[in-house]
Structure formats: structure tokens, C-alpha cells
Symmetry: C2
Subunit: 491 residues, 2 copies
């Protein structure tokens, strides 16, 4: 199998695009900006979904489903929401086609124009709060802790598989609370769920923090986020959790009778992650040979490849290989035994490297005699001959070690690609070199933030929750600052 992947060092962006295609994760479709998620890519997404869904349910949430379409007028009900959002979107104007009276094919039936246009949801706050209005009368109806797994559409001009597509898959949580405090706690709780998922499953370390006003979700009082660093030194926002205050409740007139007998508007949060996480997963760990997948999210965790000449050898090896497969499966490990005779072992090795299968076991006639087996790790590309006896425990432990090591490697990378700078000169140098996260003092104003963005393309990724209080001067304006914020070039 000729992989022919561009090297990361040569052209990171091209490496990414090729890898997504060659590893059979996704491809562009006939519809501009919309992707096809191929079975192998979708199998990873299903693992992401299953784990997140479990974490949402463990924190008391339930799933529901709201309409794909949003009446156009809904979008303008929350002033900031429509200002900052929702302009580039798919607009449904008609509800019928007809045979073309002038020839072949079909045309839009002009008689079937909708009275009010419908927007394909770019996010669902408006339609959901319009629904919650009927669900909430009293404090007894609160909290509402709903999540939705859905597709959404934002008409992006420049698209890239998984990272930015017109249609993408995501989950959006929408919760309703009786008090400000409870809603704020929910916002933080879900950010922590995202961070835990990113670190323990995606094996990607993230910085938790709050967005500056400029980068806030349209309609939110505060946007919390997790920010990850990719191997090319760029930052990727991997999840957001919004404290929406009473904005949507006011826009859709959702009031409730409090315990004390007064009327108040409901407090809201929303939070989401999307198929963009697939992009983060690919970019954070993979190498010039292909995907590197953390074992917890790998659709196939172990592949067994027989090395043989002739049917007789294959049969003898297969008996042993199937034994090993069964033992591994009994430990909850997903295993593929690839005994195809249409491909050579070398081709298979390259193929599974490209697909990021964490552990490869190879077994030949001599191994059979000696009771040995070759164990290869995808992350380090190292291999070792080991005893077959007890190999299932060795592999189980190895998968855990790899999950940890892949995270640690990303953590080390981030540590060595995060700098603190105190002058604008240094700041620009680091940003130009695309050397990673830059921690710097900022005077807290949108003007400064915009100037820095104009001049360097760097944006404030977040104000980290764990930023230490520290007296300093803004790198741009020299005005006083109390803590460093996290800058980076964003995906």
C-alpha cells in the first residue's frame, strides 16, 4: 500500500487533507461544503458519541429532538444573537418541485412559495426556547436538562473536512434553571465534562477558560471554552459552554412562578461539541505514517497479521491467532484478524499504520514453534518479540499505557510550545513562527484585542481559569493587567 502522505513538516495542511482521505475518514461530497463521513470515520465518531452521551446522562441530562427548521422571524427575536450569527445559512423558500414544463428534469414550483422562509438550524436556541415556553410555568418544572444530537448547517465559505463544513454533526445541550447561580454552575459543570472527555478519551490536554467579549457566543453573557494545541502550533477550540443569562427567556417570554410566588425569567445555558473533535483528534496525535488513535477511541484496537507461506502454515497460525483473538475479546478489546490472502503482510502493516490501529500482532511459523509473537505499537512505531503465553494481559496493559503516553506526549508538546512574553516584539515573533500558545498581559479592552488581531492574526483563545493573579502591563497598550491571557492563531 503506497501511502504517499505528504510530511507534516513539508505542508501540514496538505498532510491533514490527505490523511483524512487516505485513512477513509471522510471526503467531500457533490454538495459544496458538505462532507461524507465514511464508515471508518463514523465508527470513531460513534465512540465519541457513546462516551459523551454516557457522561451527559451521568450528569442528569436527557436527550430530545427539536425541528431542523427555524422560522426566519425567530432569529431576530434575540437581538445580539441575530447580529453575531445566522447570516450565512441555508434558506428554504419553497416546498415543492414540478416537472419542467419546458423540457426534462424538475424545477421549483413557483406556486409553492412558503409564506415565511425557514432556516436550516445553525444552532437551536431560538426554536428550543420557543418550545420551552410551553414546558415551563413554575419552579417545579425546572431545571430542564436537555441535550440533542443533530446536524446543523452554517454556510461557510472556506471549508475543510471535519474542521469547518457547511453541514456538521454535533450535540447541543440546552438547559433551563430557576436561578442564575444554578445556570452558572451548569455552564461550568459541562465545560468540565468536555475537558474530562478531551483529556481522558481524546488524549488531548486542554486549557479551560472564558472567552473575551469579542469571541463570545452571540446572545451569551459568558462563553467558556476548552482550547487545544495542534502539532502545527495552531489553537483549536474543542468545545464551548455558554451562560446565556435570561436573554433567550426574555426574547421568547419564558417566565416562571418562583417558590416565593413572584414571576421571573428563566436562566439558560447551552453547550456543544461537534465533528470538529474528529479534526482535533487527527491533528493532535497523527504522524507522517498516518493516524495515531488513542486506544479508547479506536474502532479496532488490535490487529493480528499472519506471516506465512502456503495454506498449511496459514492454517496452523490461524488456530493460534483465533485463540489469541478470543482471549483479547474476553477482556473487552476489539480485535481484527486479517487473514486475507489478497494482500502481503507489508501492505497490511502499512494499511493499519495509516488507519491508526493501536497494536499490531504479527505471528509466523517460527513464532509458533517458539511460542513467541511480535507486538508493535502504533504511537512509538516500536516493536518487540514477546511470549504468546499471557499476551492478552500484556496487550491490555499496553493499551492503557498507550492511552496515557499519547496524552503525555501531547501534554509535553504543549508545554514546550507555550511561552510567556512581556513585549509586543516577542509576541509578534512567536506568533509569526507559529510556535504555539502565547501567554501575555492584555488591558482587557476589545480595541486592543482587535488591533492585535489585525496586526498579527492572533486572537485571545481564552482567559484561563487557572491564570495566576500577576501584576503586569498590556503588551500592546502598556496599560495595567492583572493576569495573562492565552493567545494563539486559531483554526
Amino acid at each position: 500500500m503506497g501511502k504517499g502522505l505528504t510530511n507534516r513538516s513539508e505542508n501540514y495542511s496538505q498532510w491533514y487533507n490527505e490523511l483524512v482521505i487516505k485513512a477513509d475518514l471522510a471526503e467531500n461530497s457533490a454538495v459544496r461544503g458538505c462532507m461524507v463521513i465514511k464508515p471508518y470515520g463514523y465508527a470513531i465518531w460513534e465512540k465519541i458519541q457513546a462516551q459523551l452521551d454516557k457522561m451527559f446522562k451521568d450528569t442528569g441530562h436527557v436527550n430530545a429532538y427539536f425541528p431542523l427548521f427555524i422560522p426566519k422571524s425567530f432569529l431576530s427575536k434575540e437581538a445580539e444573537h441575530v447580529e453575531g450569527f445566522a447570516k450565512e445559512c441555508a434558506v428554504v423558500t419553497h416546498h415543492r418541485l414540478m416537472n419542467d414544463p419546458n423540457g426534462k428534469g424538475v424545477v421549483v414550483d413557483p406556486a409553492a412559495k412558503l409564506e415565511e422562509e425557514l432556516i436550516v438550524r445553525p444552532t437551536s436556541e431560538t426554536i428550543i426556547w420557543n418550545t420551552y415556553k410551553n414546558w415551563i410555568q413554575s419552579y417545579r418544572d425546572l431545571p430542564i436538562l436537555c441535550n440533542q444530537w443533530a446536524n446543523v448547517v452554517r454556510w461557510e465559505m472556506r471549508t475543510r473536512l471535519f474542521l469547518r463544513t457547511a453541514e456538521f454533526l454535533w450535540q447541543e445541550g440546552h438547559t433551563a434553571h430557576a436561578t442564575r447561580q444554578e445556570a452558572e454552575e451548569e455552564t461550568v459543570k459541562m465545560l468540565n465534562v468536555y475537558a474530562e472527555f478531551a483529556e481522558n478519551f481524546l488524549a488531548i490536554p486542554v486549557v479551560k477558560g472564558v472567552k473575551s467579549a469579542n469571541e463570545r457566543f452571540a446572545g451569551a453573557l459568558d462563553t467558556y471554552c476548552i482550547e487545544a494545541l495542534m502539532q502545527d502550533g495552531k489553537a483549536l477550540q474543542a468545545g464551548t459552554s455558554h451562560f446565556l443569562g435570561q436573554n433567550f427567556a426574555k426574547a421568547f417570554d419564558v417566565q416562571f412562578a418562583t417558590k416565593e410566588g413572584t414571576l421571573d425569567y428563566v436562566w439558560a445555558t447551552s453547550w456543544g461539541v461537534s465533528t470538529r473533535l474528529m479534526g482535533a483528534l487527527i491533528m493532535a496525535h497523527s504522524d507522517d505514517n498516518g493516524l495515531v488513535l488513542p486506544p479508547k477511541l479506536a474502532p479496532t484496537q488490535v490487529v493480528i497479521v499472519p506471516i506465512y507461506k502456503g495454506e498449511e502454515q496459514l492454517q496452523a497460525i490461524s488456530v493460534k491467532a483465533r485463540e489469541i483473538k478470543e482471549k483479547l475479546e474476553n477482556l473487552g478489546i476489539s480485535v481484527k484478524y486479517d487473514d486475507r490472502d489478497t494482500q502481503k503482510p507489508g501492505w497490511k502493516f502499512a494499511e493499519y499504520e495509516l488507519k491508526g490501529v493501536p497494536v499490531r500482532l504479527a505471528i509466523g511459523p517460527r513464532d509458533l514453534e517458539e511460542g513467541s509473537i511480535e507486538v508493535a505499537r502504533r504511537d512509538t512505531l516500536t516493536k518487540e518479540t514477546m511470549k504468546i503465553e499471557g499476551i492478552e494481559t500484556v496487550v491490555k496493559n499496553l493499551l492503557e499505557t498507550m492511552q496515557h503516553d499519547i496524552y503525555q506526549k501531547a501534554l509535553d508538546f504543549r508545554a514546550s510550545h507555550t511561552v510567556s512574553v512581556d513585549t509586543y516584539e516577542d509576541f509578534k515573533k512567536h506568533i509569526e513562527n507559529q510556535s504555539g500558545f502565547v501567554l501575555a498581559h492584555w488591558d482587557g479592552t476589545s480595541e486592543t484585542e482587535e488591533k492585535i488581531k489585525e496586526e498579527t492574526k492572533a486572537t485571545i483563545r481564552c482567559i484561563p481559569f487557572d491564570a495566576a493573579e500577576e501584576e503586569g502591563a498590556c503588551i500592546y497598550s502598556g496599560k495595567p493587567s492583572k493576569r495573562r491571557v492565552l493567545f494563539g492563531i486559531a483554526y
Copy 2:
């Protein structure tokens, strides 16, 4: 809790509509024809999904995701497909909104008109076969066994929650094969999966058969279906599996190199079930007190209600109730202990009857003394006082019994509501009385089928696979017929 459900005998249709709303399954949204699936309804759908997904994977299928939008021109590529389908659909014509220059709110930006309109998928054969074209070169690339869980939109004029909505959720399998035989086998295999699911999980007996040419899916050579009988004597098509021949391969020019080195068009199937199954589930079993859910699909299988006066009694009961809950959960049973002090036991009883929780356990101070507990069955509305000791095994067995009994009841109902008739007079009488399925001879022509439909509204639900060969005369034309076909009034 005042249920105030209309009785089935009074107005079946109104009973259904009220039940869907009152049991918190779904509701109409602000968007015409689009429903909101509420958390309780969605929890049932998740159980349906999980089980079907497992059955698809066990039969070798994988999931993938294809675009929401279909270029308008794709729809006309398969002539019969566009003829029989896809006229009433949501059409996207623009990709941007703008602030209204004449006032408040937003309007469609006329400058953002799409070159080619996009159709929100009513079904995905066209976009998927356009994709498969790039996936298939040789027989080695076959079979492709993909399934997709997705939302689809068909602009229905008269909608009813779950049964017929403009947007609905479904799965659509799309497979590609090297031979006609393999594709035909796949079509039947998936119909059998649907039938097994309907009978073993939904607890609904179904008739498996093939559609007449009139009722065939647009573009298919054959449509197989499962047909179920509802309590009002109407038939509901619960799932379809289509043998598409080479029609879509020809329309999208998908050829492959055969083993023999020739070029041939690929053979196709598609198959789907939707949130309509929720409608079938509700209508097949429920009664005038509310939902009746087969235990295998009930989000909560057992509810425990304490009967108490004062905090002290509640505490004593709660200790025992939590013990029972844990024992049940250890057997894999989902249990809710409802110790809310805001509602009386009677209210709770009615609520859980309405929601169809299969088993209710009630426990009071006297039960504690005597080591007894009241066990109530939702399906029969019977109750019995039993020993607490070993109650977990009793309940586990009871749930299995109920799953079986609910199916058996539906089977008995169908048996007593299926008649064989030999004259058109008898036929019309039974159809008018809406007394269920009618088995009758038919001459095999579309003309006769259409006449019967015009005159009686009855349609051929299917030609059952198990219809015995039997010489007869068509009830309408008197022409010879070799087997009876299944007629009914369809949802």
C-alpha cells in the same frame, strides 16, 4: 392526575393524539408539520435505535453519514424515482440572510441565490449512489453494506405526530452488490431483521410480503414490507426493504470490474424504518388509561411507590425500597423510586399508568411488617400482594411474561380481525366496518387494484410471503387468481 383521555371506542384518532401529548412523547412545533420529540418519547426511540443498530451490525453493516442536501438535478437522474417521489420537499434556494434595509429583522439576501437549488433529502438513494460511484471500481470493493441514521423531510400536507410528519428520524440502509442474487438475499435478510425486531421488541406481529407494482418504492424492482394491524382495524406499514436492481447504478453510472474481467452495473438495495414505529408501538398496545409499553422498550421498567404517612414511615419504607431497587438493577432492570412528597400515591399510580411503566411496586408500613409488597401489571391492570423476599426474581420473570403476553394479545387481536372473503360484497362490508385485514383473490392487475381503492379506499398491503397457492377468482373482475393478497385501510 386527571388523565382525561378520550376513550378509544369513542374516537380512536383523538385518543391517539391526546395520548402522544399527555404521555409526554411528542408535540407539534412552531414549524408546520415538524414535531418536537420530548425526552420520554425520545428515550423510547433511543431503545429502538440501539436494538436495531445492534441487529444491523450483527448482520455485517456499518454506519456512515451522507449530506443533508441533494442537488436538484440528482433527483431527475433516475426516471421512475423522480416520477413517483420527491415533488413535495423542502427546497433551499439561498444561502444568506441580511438585515432588512426597510426596518427590523432579517430578510433573504437576494444576492445569495444558489446556482442550483438544493433539496433537503426525502431519502438518500441519489446522493449515496453518486458517492458510491467513487468507492466502487472492482468486485473487491463489494459488497458495501452501509446504514445511516438521519433526519429526512417530506412536505406532507396532513401530518400526525409520529405517523406522518414533514421531518422525521429514520435509518436508511444502502447496499451495493456484485450479483442480483446477493442483492435479493440482502433485501429479504433486512426484511427479516425488521420483522424480528417488530415481533420480539415492539411486540407487534407483522405480515411479511411484497408490494404490488402500484405500491412499490419509486425506482425499485421490488418492495418488501412488514404490515401491522392497529387496534382500530387499520393497517400500518412498519418497514420496507427495496430491491433496486441496477436502476440507481445505471442512473449514476456505477460499474465495476467483475471477477471475470467484464464490466457490469452494481446491484442495489435500500431499507428503512422511521419514528413511525413509535406510532405503531403506541397504537398497537395502549389502552384508555394510557400507554402500554413492552418491557424491552420501556425507559423505566419498574416504578416503586411508597405509601406512607409522615417522615418516619417514609424513611423506614425507603430503606427497603432502595434495597429492592438495587437488587432489580443488579438484574439489569431499570427502576425508578418515586419518593416525591409533592404528589399523592394515587396521582403517581395514574401518572405511571399513563406513561406505560410495565410494573408498579407499592409498599406501605403494613407491608414492611408483613414482608409483603403490592405488584401491579400495566398491561392487565391486575395487582397482587406478594412476598418481598425474592421479589426481584418474580419481577424479572414477570417482565418476560408481559413481553410475551403483550405480543400474544396483539397476535390474538390480529387473528380475530383478519378475514378471508370471496365476494366483493363481503369485501366492501368488512372494509366499511374497518374490521381489520381482509384476504382476498385479486387478478394481479393495477387497474383492478385502483378500482378497488377508488371504490373502497382499501389498498393491497402486500402479497404475503406465506400465502398458500390456491385457485380462486378475483373478487372484483372474476378473473383467475393463484393466491389471496392482503387488503386493508392504511395509515
